[in-house]
Amino acid sequence: MKKGKKAAVVCVTLILLLTAHHAGAFSNQIIQRGAEGDDVIELQARLQYTGYYRDSIDGVFGWSTYWALRNFQESFGLPVDGLAGAATKKKLEKASKYDEAHVKSQIHKGRSFTYYGGADTTSQSVNSPPGFSQNDIQLMANAVYGESRGEPYEGQVAVAAVILNRVASESFPNTASGVIFEPGAFTAVADGQIWLTPNETAKKAVLDAINGWDPTGEALYYFNPDTATSAWIWSRPQIKKIGRHIYCE
C-alpha cells in the first residue's frame, strides 16, 4: 500500500514535470499586474508574438501588458481576469513561440531589437511609485542617509515622510529637490553630508515613505532636542519621538 502510494506520487510528479517541461519555461506562479522577472519577460514576449502586446519587453507587468493579456484572454475564450494562471499560460504557449536565450541576451545587452511584431526590448525596467523617478528616490535616499543614518529604521522612514509632507504642504516648495535644498532646512545639506553614498536601508526607507508609510503622523518638522538652538522649534506641537528626533507639526 505504502509502496503503491509512493509509486503514484512519483508517477504524478513525473507527469507534472514532463508536462511542465513540455509546456515551456513559465514557472508555476500565477502572474499578476505589478510583477517583475523572467516570467513577465516570457509573458510579454509571447503576447508580442501573438500580436496582442505592442510595447517593449521590459520585464515589468505594467498596464499595457495587462490590457494585452486581457485582450488575449477575451479572444481565446478564457475568463478575462488579467491574471496569467495555468489555463492562460497553456493557451499562450500553444499560440506562440519563445526563444528564451535570444530574448534574454538582447535584454541583457540593453539593445533595441525586433523580436516579433516589430516591437523592441529595453534593458530590464523596474517598478517605481507613480510620480517619482528612480532619480528622485536616489536624491531622497541621499538626504535621508545624510540626516539620519544612525537612527532606527522607523526614524529613517520618518525623515523621508517629513520631506514628502513638506512637498504636499503649501508652506514649502512643491518638489522633493526644492524641499531638500531649501537653504537651512536640513543640516545634512548645509554641511555636505548629503553627498555621502546612501546604503540600501536609506533607499528602502524612502520607498516605504513614498508608498504611503508615515510614522510621524503628518509631521512637517523634526529636531534633535539635545542640539536644537532655535526657540521657535520648541513651540511647535510635538507628535512623537523616534530615536533621537522629536517630530512636530
Binding site: G34, S123, S125, P130, E170, S171, P183, K241, I246
Partner: protein
C-alpha cells in the same frame, strides 16, 4: 650655512603666504557667489510682490473679462515664483511659513478664477472682495519688503552673514533683515486668521475626526506591546513602548522591537481600542520564492484576520523581493478609495512586513451612498472619444474640495498610455484624471 637656512625659511614663508592668499581669494569668490544667489532671490521676491500688487490693482479696475483672465493668470504665476524665491533664501533660522501659506492660497484663488469662463460665470461679490483684500495685503507685504530691501542696499547687509550668525545661535550684527521678515510674517499670520480665501483653499490632509471616533477600551502599555507583537509575526523582544507627545491627533503607543534575527520593527497602536495605525518591519528579504499573486492572498488573509472587513486589492507592485499592495473597502459593488490601506509582504517567506492604515481610520465611517443618477453608458459619453474603455466600476473618491463623491471609474487607453478617469455619477463632471504610470527603464 645659516644664511641658507634663512633663505630657505624665507622662501617657505613666501610660498605659504602666496598659498594662503590664493586660498583666501578662492574662499571669497565662493562666498560672493553664494551671496549673489541669495541677493538675486531676495530682489526677485521684492519685485514679484511689487508686480502682484500692481496686477491685482489693475484687475480690480478692469471691466472687460478678456483682460481679467490674463491679469489673474499673471498673479497666479507670480505667486508661484515668489514662493520659489522664498525657498531659495536662507530663512531656515526663522519661521516664514505664514507668508508662504499666504502666497499659496492667493495662488489657489487666482488660479480658480483665472481658469473659469468669466463670461458665463463672472466674479461674485465675494470674490471681488477677496481680490480687494489680496490687493491690500500685497501692499502691506510690498511696503515691508521694500523697507528691508532699502536697508539691505543701504547698509550693504549680506545674507551669508545673517545666515551664519543665526546658525551659530548669535544675534547678527544688524537685525534689520530679521526684524523686517518677522514683521512680514506677523502680518501674514493676521491675513490667515482673517481666512479670506478659506472657501477656495484645498485641504491638504483629511481631518483627524475619524481617529477621534474610534471606539474601545483603553489599552495599557503591556497590552499595546502584545498587540504589536501579534502584528509583527516575528519572534521578537520588545525594546521600548513610548507614549505619543502632546501634539498628536489622538493618544497612541509607539512599540519598538528587535527580532531574533536582528530585524527592527515598530508600530503605533491607538490607546483607545488598540487599533493599528502603522507598522513597519525592517527586514532584508531574501530571494523571492513566492509569487506576487500568492503574496497578495497572504496580505488579504492578514487583513481579514485583523478585522479589516470587505477589502479588495486595488493595486500591486513588486520592488525587488518585496510586494506592496493597496487594499480598498468595497461596499456592495462600490470601491471606497478614501478607505484604503497599504500593506507590504516579503516575497521570500510571504510574511506581512508592514501596514499603513492611518488614512483608513481617518476616513472610515458608515456610508449611506445614494444610487447614481447616470448609468455607466451615460457617464462614458463624458470621456474623450479617442479613449478605449477597458474596465468600469463604481467608486467613491475625494474630490478637489474635499468631498467624497460617487463616481464611475473608467480604466481606459488610447494606444500609447493608460488612464484612470473618475466621472461623477450624479452630474457627469470629470472629477479626476490620472495617467497611469508605466515601469521606468533601468539605466
Amino acid at each position: 650655512m645659516r644664511s641658507f637656512t634663512i633663505a630657505g625659511l624665507t622662501l617657505l614663508l613666501a610660498v605659504t603666504a602666496i598659498w594662503g592668499f590664493s586660498q583666501y581669494r578662492q574662499k571669497e569668490a565662493m562666498y560672493i557667489e553664494a551671496e549673489n544667489g541669495y541677493q538675486q532671490a531676495f530682489h526677485e521676491l521684492v519685485y514679484q510682490i511689487d508686480v502682484i500688487h500692481d496686477r491685482t490693482g489693475e484687475a480690480l479696475a478692469m471691466n472687460s473679462k478678456g483682460n481679467l483672465t490674463p491679469a489673474l493668470t499673471d498673479v497666479w504665476r507670480l505667486t508661484s515664483e515668489a514662493h520659489n524665491a522664498i525657498s531659495r533664501l536662507p530663512l531656515g533660522f526663522m519661521p516664514f511659513s505664514k507668508t508662504e501659506e499666504f502666497l499659496g492660497s492667493s495662488g489657489d484663488f487666482t488660479y480658480k478664477t483665472a481658469v473659469r469662463d468669466l463670461d458665463n460665470e463672472p466674479l461674485t461679490d465675494k470674490e471681488y472682495n477677496q481680490l480687494e483684500t489680496l490687493y491690500s495685503q500685497a501692499a502691506d507685504l510690498q511696503k515691508e519688503l521694500r523697507s528691508v530691501q532699502m536697508s539691505v542696499l543701504d547698509k550693504n547687509l549680506r545674507w551669508t552673514d545673517i545666515a551664519h550668525a543665526t546658525a551659530k545661535g548669535d544675534e547678527p550684527a544688524d537685525n534689520t533683515v530679521i526684524d523686517g521678515f518677522n514683521t512680514i510674517e506677523n502680518k501674514a499670520s493676521e491675513f490667515s486668521e482673517a481666512d479670506v480665501f478659506q472657501a477656495g483653499q484645498v485641504e491638504q490632509s483629511v481631518s483627524d475626526d475619524g481617529l477621534k471616533r474610534l471606539k474601545g477600551n483603553k489599552v495599557t502599555k503591556a497590552e499595546a506591546a502584545s498587540i504589536a507583537k501579534d502584528y509583527f509575526n516575528i519572534d521578537a523582544e520588545v525594546t521600548t513602548v513610548e507614549k505619543n507627545l502632546k501634539g498628536a491627533a489622538i493618544p497612541f503607543y509607539n512599540v519598538a522591537v528587535i527580532g531574533k534575527n536582528g530585524e527592527e520593527a515598530s508600530m503605533d497602536v491607538t490607546e483607545k481600542g488598540g487599533y493599528p495605525l502603522t507598522f513597519n518591519v525592517n527586514k532584508t528579504s531574501g530571494k523571492g520564492k513566492i509569487s506576487l499573486h500568492d503574496a497578495s492572498k497572504k496580505a488579504a488573509t492578514f487583513l481579514e484576520k485583523h478585522g479589516f472587513d470587505n477589502m479588495v486589492m486595488t493595486n500591486s507592485a513588486q520592488y525587488d523581493h518585496t510586494a506592496v499592495f493597496t487594499f480598498t473597502t468595497k461596499q456592495d459593488d462600490i470601491l471606497i478609495y478614501p478607505e484604503s490601506v497599504t500593506i507590504k509582504t516579503a516575497l521570500d517567506n510571504g510574511v506581512v512586513s508592514g501596514l499603513e492604515a492611518q488614512n483608513y481610520w481617518k476616513n472610515r465611517r458608515e456610508r449611506d451612498i445614494e444610487s447614481p443618477t447616470l448609468t455607466s453608458d451615460e457617464a462614458k459619453k463624458e470621456l474623450h472619444p479617442k479613449l478605449t474603455v477597458m474596465e468600469v466600476q463604481k467608486a467613491v473618491v475625494t474630490n478637489d474640495v474635499g468631498e467624497d463623491v460617487l463616481c464611475y471609474e473608467f480604466l481606459a487607453e488610447n494606444g500609447t498610455a493608460s488612464y484612470r478617469i473618475f466621472i461623477n455619477a450624479k452630474d457627469g463632471k470629470e472629477e479626476r484624471i490620472e495617467k497611469l504610470a508605466e515601469a521606468e527603464a533601468g539605466y
